[in-house]
């Protein structure tokens, strides 16, 4: 049924139709609306046979999910940003134990400085944890990915994180086609665990493993990630057959035929980029875009195939590794999608800074003229940076950087963000 819904509400309804048995909640923006809605549905009985646990921290939220999942229950939770960092130890543990927990990550920047707006730094912080990480492009895909996530997680016995851009998606009202309970029931069988805590058939889970087998345990976990490279598109195809729309899969190429320049990105920014691609194609400029849905496992072959023939690849990424550069672009480079020096990393949209069509159009233009380096920052306010560097050079006790920048911005309102820089 098509309905006009807030992204969070849509995801909550989708999760409800997946019949979770234990849902843990700890509030953090921009994830709150999702768990609030699920909590209400458990109370009214709209979700049956489900325990909704208000925990005292995200560390507990993931730990309760671990216990529930190990006891054979379908477990779900949601978090963002600082919450994900706070639960990090348990995030790794859930993956190491092979527990098919599904978690929504309402992507948000990491502090300090504290910032509630969207980027992908939180997801990147646990990219090596062994979780499958899927990125939704819009709210419809967020709904669909959650339904697929439970299938995927339980089939492989691996946890799945569905990443959706905080505020941009979680708080956006959009028309969404919500599948019926019967449709979801047909698609998602009851959870049949690979390992379960059962007094009738006791086993030990979580034993200590030394050098004699640790590598093998990790290797097997890697193999299961590789299995996901096969399972994700297969489940996506089945989903398309059952629900009548394409969602999920590994990558989404868009107008890449004959493109000399291919942009690569994840999440909601793909909508903006597609609009720009359409504009440019209209005037005969051969550009395309590849959206990456599966970030972990990283679909090397699919990325390589999708970018085939491009002269240059411009990765627009909402996170970066300090002292290193782009994370996604480094993976794309590893995929061998283009000669190394022609993968350009463009860091954009950090802490919620809008990525405008104008900025993307200008980026494409400069890239095609060979004016974009291997690492650059979209819309960087050079004056602001120069001011702070000068202050730091001038005095030892120059004070906290973030507060200095805010003061500079306040005293120079003509440079406020809204005026828009290329």
């Amino acid at each position: 049924m098509r309905r006009q819904l807030e992204g969070s509400r849509a995801v909550a309804e989708a999760v409800a139709r997946c019949r979770p048995e234990v849902v843990c909640a700890y509030p953090i923006s921009p994830q709150t609306h999702i768990i609030e809605a699920i909590g209400a549905m458990v109370r009214t009985g709209a979700i049956e046979r489900c325990e909704f646990v208000n925990v005292e921290s995200e560390f507990a939220a993931m730990s309760v999910s671990i216990g529930a999942s190990a006891a054979g229950a379908r477990a779900y939770t949601a978090t963002a940003s600082q919450g994900l960092l706070y639960m990090a130890e348990a995030v790794y543990n859930a993956a190491g134990l092979g527990l098919p927990i599904v978690m929504t990550l309402a992507n948000r920047a990491l502090g300090a400085p504290i910032n509630i707006w969207n980027d992908h730094s939180d997801a990147m912080s646990v990219r090596d944890s062994g979780w499958i990480q899927l990125f939704a492009e819009d709210n419809q895909e967020a709904v669909d990915l959650h339904i697929q996530a439970f299938r995927l997680a339980e089939e492989l016995s691996l946890p799945v994180m569905v990443c959706m851009d905080g505020f941009i998606l979680t708080h956006a009202m959009e028309e969404v086609d919500l599948p019926s309970q019967a449709q979801v029931d047909d698609f998602l069988p009851p959870y049949s665990p690979r390992q379960v805590l059962d007094p009738a058939d006791p086993l030990s889970i979580g034993a200590m493993v030394g050098p004699e087998a640790y590598t093998e345990v990790r290797y097997l976990a890697h193999l299961r990630q590789l299995d996901a490279l096969e399972a994700i598109p297969r489940i996506g195809t089945e989903f398309a057959a059952a629900f009548g729309r394409d969602s999920g899969g590994l990558v989404h190429p868009y107008r890449t035929e004959g493109a000399d320049t291919v942009l690569v990105a994840m999440g909601s920014v793909l909508g903006t980029i597609k609009d720009v691609v359409d504009d440019q194609r209209d005037v005969g400029i051969p550009v395309g875009v590849v959206g990456i849905t599966a970030f972990r496992p990283f679909p090397f072959a699919a990325v390589r195939a999708a970018c085939q023939g491009a002269e240059r690849i411009v990765v627009v990424e909402k996170a970066f590794s300090l002292g290193f550069g782009g994370v996604l672009s480094s993976d794309v480079t590893m995929a061998g999608a283009a000669p190394h020096h022609l993968v350009h990393s463009v860091i954009a949209g950090l802490g919620g800074r809008p990525i405008t069509k104008a900025a993307i159009a200008s980026l494409i233009e400069r890239a095609r003229r060979g004016e974009v380096g291997s690492l650059s920052f979209l819309d960087l306010d050079e004056d602001l940076i120069a001011g702070e560097l000068a202050r730091m050079a001038a005095e030892r006790r120059s004070g906290p950087v973030a507060e200095n920048l805010l003061r500079d911005l306040a005293s120079a309102p003509h440079r406020s963000r809204e005026t828009g820089r290329a």
């Binding site: 921290s57 309760v64 216990g67 999942s69 006891a71 348990a90 006791p202 979580g206």
Partner: protein
């Protein structure tokens, strides 16, 4: 259900033997029964005389008996977890999971929630950890589990330090005790006075239905308290003093004796509380001076080199405060065996 045993009188004064043979069959311990489950089976790698291994065996076999063998156990990281499951061996003969150091209470909450969702209220959840895992790193998740009154029995095996990592100070380490991070050096050797957490009382402040302390010196009492804890639903807390020969610098053969001295000096009060109120106290017939307890342990050896009577007096004052607070001493008490030197 096992009947709650009436307090056992021991006639062999001067001996610590439990003397099951002298008891009526219905008063004997679960452990004395050949049908016990051996939840923590032999062959594990605990040190000789490990109080924690002893305590866990009694608690879990009793919990198994009380639940028709339907226990799921959660273990925090620590000695108990490490010595019981070096890959690929496991000593656990019950459904058991170890996740992390600080999350055992929350994992237990998750299992209890799963069982509730599935309508499996016959399955009972027991979580366990050392004092570090309980009073320090796991404190947040434990308090959350208490506060929500989740259906979990949490058992703390208190050996008064982080033993698994090599005897470092925890929030349950007593004053003056030497640990690897409170060395017996400097002007105030050992662990400082005026610090530390009294978790049984903090648990009581959550007003959960059952809180009890016990030691491995009185295993009848430990079993009886486990049975009573299992008879309650919701969050329950059992705090068991378990001497650690390695960490305390004590002889393996002294584990039971030290646990008994901890109780008989008043340093470790043994009591039960329901809904935040103390309902029973294990009495001391003859209060033993703390020095008897201290001198048998190398972690206090510095107190007996040079004149540290003032420190010993301070420790005596702590014991006396417990005696006053819980009304521990009762010269007419018949239940407590008289302690004699051996």
């Amino acid at each position: 259900m096992i009947p709650v045993p009436t307090p056992v009188r021991f006639y062999q004064v001067g001996s610590f033997a439990v003397g099951n043979r002298l008891l009526d069959p219905d008063q004997r311990t679960v452990q004395a029964d050949t049908a016990r489950t051996n939840s923590l089976d032999s062959g594990h790698r605990a040190c000789q005389g490990c109080g924690e291994a002893l305590g866990a065996r009694y608690v879990l076999d009793t919990a198994m008996r009380a639940s028709d063998n339907k226990v799921v156990a959660v273990n925090a990281t620590g000695c108990l977890e490490v010595f019981s499951t070096p890959y690929p061996e496991s000593s656990w003969r019950l459904a058991w999971i170890h996740s992390l150091f600080g999350n055992a209470p929350a994992v237990a909450t998750g299992i209890a929630a799963a069982m509730r969702a599935k309508g499996r209220l016959d399955v009972r959840v027991v979580a366990q950890g050392g004092d570090g895992g309980t009073v320090d790193i796991g404190f947040g998740t434990l308090s959350g589990m208490f506060e929500r009154n989740d259906d979990v029995l949490y058992v703390c095996y208190d050996n008064e330090a982080y033993m698994n990592t090599g005897v470092q100070r925890s929030g349950a380490t007593p004053p003056a005790a030497r640990t690897a991070t409170t060395e017996a050096v400097g002007p105030a050797p050992g662990n400082p006075f005026g610090q530390g957490k009294d978790l049984p009382r903090i648990a009581m402040a959550h007003e959960i239905s059952y809180v009890a302390t016990a030691t491995v010196a009185d295993l009848h009492d430990l079993e009886a308290k486990t049975i009573r804890a299992m008879a309650h639903r919701g969050a329950r807390y059992l705090h068991v003093l378990v001497p650690c020969p390695l960490g305390w610098g004590a002889a393996s053969k002294d584990t039971i004796r030290l646990a008994r001295l901890a109780k008989e000096t008043g340093l470790f009060p043994v009591f039960e509380a329901e809904h935040g109120e103390v309902v029973s106290v294990a009495k001391i017939r003859h209060k033993t001076p703390v020095v008897e307890y201290l001198k048998a342990q190398r972690r206090y050896a510095h107190l007996f080199k040079g004149d540290h009577q003032d420190v010993i007096d301070q420790l005596q004052a702590l014991a006396d405060r417990n005696v006053g607070r819980y009304g521990l001493v009762d010269p007419t008490s018949a239940d407590a065996p008289q302690l004699t030197e051996d």
